[in-house]
Structure formats: structure tokens, C-alpha cells
Symmetry: none
Subunit: 401 residues, 2 copies
């Protein structure tokens, strides 16, 4: 059951406040100790929430499917990720506040290091955002395409977004990011015949960019992925009658949130900053807060089991600040698993807590993958969760008389 399909006819506006706290990549996998990151972490506050509420295991995009970040969040927000094909380029553009027009196509652009014709570092030594901005200017000055405007915008670190603007553009262009190092960047290719002209333009863009960046080692090359147009999604206000706000340090998550109509609240770089932002905006009329913690995922991608444990514990220590605010419903979960043992997103289901006065508490007494499988939420698909969350916040009326 897709929440955003069902909810519009049932949703009612109320003042109750929901907090959806997403620890990115929360789900883990046991290391040699036999415990996952979450099972290893000392999380007394999350354990108490698990004990007082209900827990379960979520397959964000369904069983076996390893979610990308954008589609995973779309599912968490209750949307059908199999129907709404939001491309990474559009998410990235939204994440920095760009609204793409009908004539525009965007793609994620990563600065990278090329050596002897092969990609040596897909993240160009993780150059800082200021350097990224400088290089975007270099490209904006140097690159000229016939009949098409090109603008490269810095996002964060080595990440940028490129926006092509002109008539008859196409998104049918394959990613050039090979996903691994030690091989050349993929040549620009159309994925369908109607993408041929666009592919030529993009190839010309890449060629000119390479020349312009030649002396800019380690950021002497670019990789492109996720060619996409603006996608019109029904907003969370339309679907759920929620006034929703996003608190996220990373631009792409702000991008997905903006695509479903959330207000994006400015915040700082640290997890604690996000909780301060939540407090500052608590009484401003919002009825739904999406709070996103990125680092639990980043440490997983880096294979840092202990780092993930510490980040989870850092979040746990902040939970009392959240509880002081008096949320009506609190959800704690992840968007997918990023076990340090795998150094990547995986398909393993994600533990979830649903906490609130009307939640029928189950017998689980701690927050962890194995404990959650005994919880009363059972095992469920991501896109159906929002209905349950809304219900416990008193925001859904009876269906039928």
C-alpha cells in the first residue's frame, strides 16, 4: 500500500507534531563480534523508545532491493519509488535550491582525478567546497556549446551539478561515472535514439571541461551521472495535509525534501546543530519534521564499523533534547542499510521505531536488527510506513462509514 496514494482522501489537518529521524544507512551487519553496529552501540535513549513503542524491520523499496538515497527517501515519505523516477540530477539541483525549467536537464557532476587516461580517484581527493566552487567558475567561463547554455553549480566537497538549458534536450544519456577506479571514464553515450543529439553536446562539454581542468590536479576531470528533468510530485501538504520541514546537512536530502514540498530549514554542519534547528523551529506551525543524519552512512561507505557505532551513540545522546520538545509521534529509522562490512548500500531491512502515545507497545526492549524482527511492526515496505505514522498522530480519518 503506497501511503501517498491512499492518504489524500483520509488525511485531516491537526496540530500534532511528527518527527521522522532518519539515520542514513542505519541498518548494519554483524562483524566478528556477532553484533551489528546498532547492536554494539550503547544507546539507552533509543532502547527506551524501543521499549515504550513498537519496532520492526523495513524493506524501504521492497525485499532484496538495494535503495539509492533519493528513491529510499521518497519511499520513506510514502511515495511510490517505482512510479516516480526521480533522477539524481534533479535531486542535486533541488538540493541547492534550483528549480529546473522545462528546457533544462541536470546531471550530477563529480570532480575526479584522472591519471594516464584512467580514473585514479572518483572524488578528487575530496576537495573542499570552496575549491569546488572555484572549479565550477573555471568551467562556466571556459565551456561554450552551440545553442545551449551550460551552468555548473557547486554542491558540496567534490560534488557539483551541471544544468543544460536549451530546446529539445534529452535525458537519454548514460552515466559516465564507471563507479570504480583504475578504468577510464565511460564515453558519453545515448541510451535511446532520441538521446543522440544530447549525447554529442554532453561529449563536447566533457571534452572542453577536460581541457579547462588539465592543470587543476587532483580535480583534473569530471564524471557525470543521473541526467534528469524536473519531476512534479504531489506535495506532502496535498497528500497528507502536513506542514513539513526538512533539517539536513547534506544538499541531496534537502533536494528530495524540497521535491515533496517541504520547507528546508537552514542548519549547521553537526548533528547537534540539527537538533538545535529542530528546537528553534518547533513552535512555528510545522506538523512534520524530517531530520536527516548523514554520517551513519558515510562511515559505513568507508567500512568504519567503530565510526558508525560512535555516530549512532552521538545521535542517541541527543534524543533527550528531542523528547523535551514533546513530539506526538517519533519515528527513528534509516533509509537503507550501509553495513561497514559491505562498504556500500545493501538490501538488508532497516530497523525502525514507532513511538507515540497511541502506539500499542510490543515486547521489544532494545533497538537493534535482531530485536526489531520480534517487534509488532513486523517486516514492512517503506512506502506504507507513512500511513501508520499519520494514524498514530491522529491525522487519518476512518475509511468508509
Amino acid at each position: 500500500m503506497i501511503s501517498s496514494d491512499i492518504a489524500p482522501s483520509l488525511a485531516i489537518e491537526t496540530d500534532s507534531r511528527i518527527v521522522l529521524l532518519v539515520m542514513d544507512g542505519l541498518g548494519g551487519f554483524p562483524n566478528e563480534s556477532g553484533k551489528t553496529e546498532l547492536e554494539t552501540a550503547h544507546v539507552p535513549n533509543l532502547d527506551r523508545l524501543a521499549a515504550e513503542g513498537a519496532t520492526g524491520l523495513m524493506d524501504t523499496l521492497g525485499r532484496g532491493v538495494t535503495p539509492g538515497s533519493g528513491l529510499a527517501h521518497l519511499a520513506l515519505f510514502g511515495y511510490d519509488s517505482y512510479k516516480h523516477d526521480i533522477g539524481r540530477g534533479a535531486i542535486a539541483a533541488n538540493g541547492i535550491g534550483l528549480s529546473l525549467t522545462k528546457n533544462q536537464v541536470a546531471a550530477r557532476l563529480n570532480f575526479c582525478t584522472e591519471r594516464d587516461g584512467k580514473i585514479a580517484d572518483r572524488r578528487a581527493g575530496r576537495i573542499p567546497t570552496e575549491k569546488c566552487a572555484e572549479l565550477c567558475t573555471v568551467l562556466n567561463v571556459a565551456v561554450k556549446l552551440p545553442g545551449v547554455k551550460v551552468a555548473v553549480h557547486p554542491v558540496m566537497d567534490y560534488r557539483a551539478v551541471v544544468v543544460f538549458d536549451g530546446p529539445d534536450l534529452s535525458i537519454e544519456v548514460a552515466d559516465t561515472d564507471p563507479g570504480v577506479v583504475g578504468v577510464p571514464a565511460k564515453p558519453v553515450k545515448a541510451t535511446k535514439p532520441e538521446g543522440e543529439r544530447m549525447a554529442k553536446l554532453v561529449a563536447e562539454f566533457v571534452a572542453q571541461a577536460k581541457v579547462a581542468l588539465a592543470s587543476r590536479h587532483p580535480a583534473n576531470m569530471i564524471l557525470l551521472r543521473g541526467f534528469a528533468r524536473h519531476l512534479e510530485l504531489p506535495s506532502m501538504r496535498e497528500c497528507y495535509k502536513l506542514k513539513a520541514a526538512c533539517i539536513a546537512t547534506y544538499p541531496d536530502y534537502r533536494g528530495v525534501a524540497r521535491m515533496v514540498g517541504m520547507d528546508v530549514l537552514p542548519t549547521g554542519d553537526e548533528i547537534a546543530d540539527e537538533f538545535i534547528t529542530l528546537k528553534e523551529n518547533w513552535a512555528k506551525g510545522y506538523t512534520f519534521f524530517f531530520v536527516h543524519v548523514k554520517k551513519t552512512d558515510s562511515y559505513g561507505e568507508d567500512g568504519d564499523f567503530v565510526g558508525r557505532v560512535h555516530k549512532i551513540e552521538e545521535v542517541d545522546a541527543l534524543i533527550p533534547r528531542l523528547m523535551e520538545l514533546g513530539p506526538d509521534v517519533l519515528v527513528v529509522t534509516g533509509d537503507h542499510s550501509t553495513p561497514a562490512m559491505f562498504k556500500a548500500h545493501t538490501w538488508h531491512p532497516v530497523p525502525a521505531i514507532l513511538w507515540g502515545k497511541s502506539v500499542r507497545r510490543d515486547e521489544t526492549t532494545s533497538f537493534g536488527e535482531r530485536e526489531a524482527m520480534k517487534g509488532s511492526l513486523g517486516r514492512f515496505d517503506g512506502a506504507e510506513f507513512m500511513l501508520d505514522i499519520l494514524a498514530h498522530a491522529g491525522k487519518l480519518k476512518k475509511m468508509g462509514a
Copy 2:
């Protein structure tokens, strides 16, 4: 989520090998001892797999639905049994290697015993396959239909398949098998107006067959069911990028396997023979092995609780031979329940084990219906299982960027 709908855009080809071991009708029901057949059986090897992996309960065609064998296997293979209406006749034809042409309609034909105009034995005393072949020849010589060729092919024991070949045939003909003894065979009837002509042809066929078999007691009559045409299904290679092989002693299971593009490997009559066939073909490039054990179902149909227990134990004793081969992912389950207490297929969910290096092990320590309901696979629909299986074999890429 139907695996074969989702997987085509996510599947990647790898060398990892999956074994799907199906004990037909595995799910049981407690007898007076309070334990099911599987719970009664001494299965140390299956218990170890359950302990090392994850378990759950599968509703092959959804909750409450009692599956027929063909559609149950189609679901296990990840296909939508509600969309692909494969008739028993087509399965039977495929099972003996016939490829039906567009002008052909097939039906399952069972030889049976008729006494005083009523069916006395629906299986004609389980005549041997040689006798069945002889009687098929009798029918092929005796029966003549105007403008339509008829060919009867032996399958196994009392089972055969009849293929009608001619212009404008129809599958809109009801089964003549009453499903019980002590009543007459059902008259041949069309199920829709467009089946009227076909029904007349089939009625004529049955009448001539009855005359031809009059002196052939106990096989003095025939029962027909599952009128069907060839059904074009996307192959497991197309859907999952798998090179799949089937090891099954019974023709109908080979038939379903062939319909989804599996290679059908010749094997012997015993369960042990099937495991030898698996070993012999282990290193021949296959990435998916479907191994089917029939007897667990047959004993259930016969109401033989102890016989089922022994067959389950026989399979358990062969598990070490399978594990020696080093499968990457092993699944042990059934296609439905056939509790001896019911002497028939039932809707009860089927216990399942998912075993592999990347499986997050749960806390179940033995293989049984009640233990499985505590497992981390939870309760799930048959057609979504393949996605999870493929994921654990590293055969699905991330969805979205």
C-alpha cells in the same frame, strides 16, 4: 512486489550459484502429537542451516490461497501467478518436451476406472508408465476427429497429455475430472460461448476413448483437465540474468521449469540421484539450480504422516552433499503445504530457510513451522522471494543513484 517485474532493470550476471531446494508440499499440520511432520522429523542439517541463516513463512500465492503445483512454482520462480495463467495442459506438454504450436491445445489426461457409470478410481490403480504408453497408442489408433489431429502422449504412471491440433480450437472447456470418486465423470461443457465447438470435439474424443478402452479395466475411462495453449513467459535469463537448471524427477515440474527457460537436466528416480545430478552439473556454468523433491507431497496426499517425516529426513541426510559443493545462496522451502492430516494441498504458509554469507542470521535455531514464524524473513508472498534470493547472491545492483 513481483520479482520478475522488478528484477530485469536491476539484475547483473555473476558467477555466484544459487540452489533452490523445493520439498513439494513441505508445510504440514500437527497430528495428535502436537507437532507437524517437519517438527517431528530429525533434521540436524536443516536445523543448522536455519540457525546459520534466516527463516520465515511463505504464502506462495498470497494468504489463504491453496496453490496448484504449476502456479506455486511459477511464484517461487518470481513470476506473477495472477497474470500468467498457465494451464495444466501446457505444463504437462512442456514437461515431456513438447512445444505447443499456435494451433494446438493441450489437456492433462488421466486414465481412471469407471464402474456402473461412476468413477471408482481416479488413478486407475496407479497403472505403470509402460501400461500408460500402451493405452496412449490404443487411443491414437482408435480416435478420429473431423478436421482435428489428436495425439495422446504418456507422462508418468496413469498420467498422460492430449494435444488437439487444428484451426480455431479453444481452451474454453471445463475439466471433466470430478475430483472425487463415486460420481460420474463430468460431461464436457464449454466455459464460454466460443468454446462450444471445441467442447463438441472433446465430447466426441471422450466418447471414442471410452469405447476404445472398454476392455482395458482398470484403465477403462479418461478424465481431462487444464485445457491450455502454450504460454510465452519471459525467461529467467531475461528477468534475472541467470543460467538456470532444473533437477526434478516428475515431468510437470520439468514442464514449469522449461516454461521459464531452465535447462532440464536428466536425473534418476530417487532423491539421492537428484543430488548426484546436482554435483555432476555443478561446474557447468549454471548459476541457479532448482532441485525438486516430489515425495514429501505424495505422502501428504496419501495421508501418510510418518512417510512424510521419513522423506523429510531423507532429504536432510543429503544436505551435507549439497553443502560440500559450496553454494553461495541456498534456499530450502516448499511450494505449498500438503499436511497428511488434510490429504491435500492447503493454504497454510510454508516454512523457508534463506542461507548465505550475506544473510543477517536471526535467532531461530531449528527448521519448523512454528520456529519459522519467529524468523527475520517474516511472513511473505512467494513471488517476492526471488528478489531477496538474488540480492543475497550479489545479483542485483542498486536501484537509483
